[in-house]
């Protein structure tokens, strides 16, 4: 029972890490390798808003998400615009920008016990004789809500439809008046905002450290690779597979194995089914 409950929770955490990355990639084909850095920046922002500016969490959380969204927006217009359409340059620029942010934060001393966030809800409840603290419930709720909201957004709003149009066929989308740069920057901004949402709900579970940014990036990539880059269902499925494998490994073998699991999963998936569990192999093969 413990395994099931905590397995679900760590799966949801993984999905939260990955959802922003997947959204951005799915819509505009931009691999935002600064995702981990944006996550940590989210943590940094909310900590400062609460401890330096003295805001309550209710005010600080949305502000953090907006800040990160704006940062993503700036990332697109400031850096990515110049290399748009050259996939590898996009990758280098986001990756280098991400590492620069993380190293800068580490250098400025953003680690240690001082930087921790209060949990949202102190109490804990018991489900099937397993004790779960309030924060984890919040994580669970946020994760589920986000996936549902995103689904509704993409299917039923104008912007969402534009997103899908761009994802499916950029040229056609352009010809019907969808502005690629606008949608592209919006997708990066939303991805960054989602990274911040993840940071706000997940970070209070532990200490904050800039190096976590690398882990988040790795988890997001792992989920994306295992699930297949273009598939949302694949992303959820991959989160659950890796999440459960991780929880089991941590419980029965040792906590150090936590990070080996997703990495090993990637290697395994790549050997068996290179396009990911639900990836579109046909398309991949044609475009390689």
């Amino acid at each position: 029972m413990w395994l099931i409950v905590y397995g679900i929770i760590s799966s949801v955490i993984l999905a939260l890490y990955a959802v922003g990355f997947s959204l951005t990639y799915g819509v505009s084909g931009l691999p935002n390798f600064a995702h981990g850095a944006l996550y940590i920046l989210g943590g940094y922002a909310i900590w400062n808003l609460m401890n330096v500016a003295g805001l309550s969490i209710i005010a600080a959380a949305p502000l953090t998400v907006i800040t990160c969204g704006l940062l993503g927006f700036g990332l697109y217009w400031g850096l990515l615009l110049r290399v748009r359409g050259i996939p590898l340059s996009e990758l280098v620029v986001t990756f280098a920008a991400g590492v620069a942010i993380l190293e800068l934060l580490t250098w400025s001393g953003f680690y240690g016990i001082r930087y921790s966030l209060p949990v949202f809800w102190e109490e804990s409840i018991e489900i099937f004789s397993v004790v779960i603290d309030g924060q984890r419930i919040l994580v669970l709720a946020t994760g589920v809500a986000l996936v549902i909201l995103l689904h509704l957004f993409v299917r039923h709003t104008r912007t969402g439809l534009a997103f899908r149009g761009l994802a499916q066929n950029e040229r056609t989308a352009l010809s019907v008046g969808i502005e690629a740069d606008w949608i592209g920057s919006l997708s990066v901004a939303m991805g960054s905002g989602l990274a911040a949402v993840a940071a706000v709900v997940v970070l209070p579970l532990g200490m904050m450290e800039a190096t976590i940014g690398y882990e988040v990036l790795i988890y997001a990539l792992a989920v994306a690779i295992v699930g297949g880059l273009e598939s949302t269902t694949g992303m959820v499925l991959a989160s659950f597979i890796i999440g459960f494998a991780q929880t089991a490994a941590a419980r029965y073998i040792g906590p150090k194995w936590m990070i080996i699991v997703p990495l090993a999963a990637i290697v395994l998936v790549l050997v068996v089914r290179p396009s990911g569990l639900l990836g579109k192999f046909k398309e991949l093969e044609e475009r390689v």
Binding site: V99, E103, G254, I259, L284, V288
Partner: protein
């Protein structure tokens, strides 16, 4: 009668020498020979002679520059056939640990460990990445980024290969000169070796894969096996650098899988100019001494490399080498018109 006016015009050496293509040369005078050879010979001579005049710390910088240079050359080879690596540290680390393990546990001499680690590292990395070459560039980049981390974590979790402490007390090079000149000569050899490889028909096929892989397939060439071959060559080059550094420091530890070894070569290639091996080499010769100057910055160095990298990609898309090359080609002499 008027005094005869001496008419002169400017002549570009380049135009006279290069007939039709970049590869067909017409050399007519000693000046032409000098023009063609100077940019190739002079920098190499400087690199070879420099350790004789500078010692200690400075020769360490030269060694470091050559190591990064090898990694950058290896990166460039992969890039020229469309494989985009974010994990030069993978190849580097595999070579380093292979050499270290052979020394520590099998007590093999250096002249065995280095060649075996070079080829073995190349083969292991090619094998690991073979499934990925079928996929789009982004996947390859992601996987190469993650594999070094996986290796590091496995070594840490299992405590194998010295675990967190690394392998220490390894055999050093018999003398300092061998140490220095091995890496310098290797660097020069690899630079010119890869340059002639890429202009050969074999290299042409690799470049064609990056250009349009479907056209290459329809020409009856197995692009996947070619990519794996390129991977083997590139990984061998980087593994050699790793094996060298193991014996140079007489130590192999986690640090070989660190992000530095992935970012620095990438930044070097970007600064020097992607698309040419000389660019990658030049980039590392510029960037490494610069980064030594930044040593005082400590933790901030990585951030600075990254800033340089972003700047190079955005603002210097052609790189320093191409710029210099163009300027050199515009070099003119004044000749008399009869």
């Amino acid at each position: 009668m008027q005094e005869a006016e001496v008419k002169v015009r400017k002549r570009r050496l380049e135009r006279a020498i290069k007939a039709r293509t970049d590869t067909v040369f017409v050399i007519a005078s000693p000046g032409d020979i000098l023009y063609v050879l100077a940019p190739r010979v002079v920098p190499m001579a400087i690199l070879l002679l420099l350790p004789l005049f500078v010692g200690g710390y400075h020769s360490k910088v030269i060694v470091h520059a050559c190591v990064v240079g090898l990694l950058a050359l290896s990166w460039e080879l992969l890039a020229s056939c469309g494989l985009f690596s974010l994990g030069q540290s993978l190849f580097f680390g595999v070579g380093a640990y292979m050499a270290g393990a052979m020394d520590k546990y099998l007590h093999l001499p250096i002249w065995v460990t280095i060649p075996v680690a070079t080829l073995g590292g190349g083969a292991l990395c090619a094998l690991l990445l073979a499934p990925v070459v079928r996929l789009r560039g982004v996947y390859f980049a992601m996987v190469t980024l993650m594999l070094p981390i996986l290796f590091k974590q496995i070594i840490e979790a299992w405590g194998i290969l010295g675990g967190t402490h690394g392998l220490s007390g390894l055999t050093a090079f018999p003398n300092e000169w061998l140490d220095k000149y091995l890496i310098i000569v290797a660097f020069i050899t690899v630079l010119f070796g890869l340059r002639s490889l890429i202009t050969s028909d074999y290299g042409l096929v690799l470049k064609a894969i990056a250009d349009d892989d479907r056209a290459v397939m329809s020409a009856g060439i197995n692009i996947y096996s070619r990519k794996v071959q390129a991977l083997f060559i590139a990984a061998s080059v980087a593994s050699f650098a790793g094996a060298f550094i193991t014996h140079h420091y007489q130590f192999a530890g986690f640090s070989v899988f660190a992000l530095d070894w992935a970012i620095l070569p990438l930044a070097a290639a970007a600064v020097g100019g992607t698309g040419s091996f000389a660019g990658a080499a030049l980039g590392s010769m510029i960037l490494v001494p610069l980064s030594e100057a930044l040593r005082a910055m400590g933790g901030l160095r990585m951030a600075i490399y990254c800033a340089i990298l972003v700047f190079a990609v955005l603002a210097l898309p052609e790189g320093i080498f191409r710029f210099l090359e163009r300027k050199y080609q515009e070099f003119e002499t004044v000749i008399e018109v009869k």
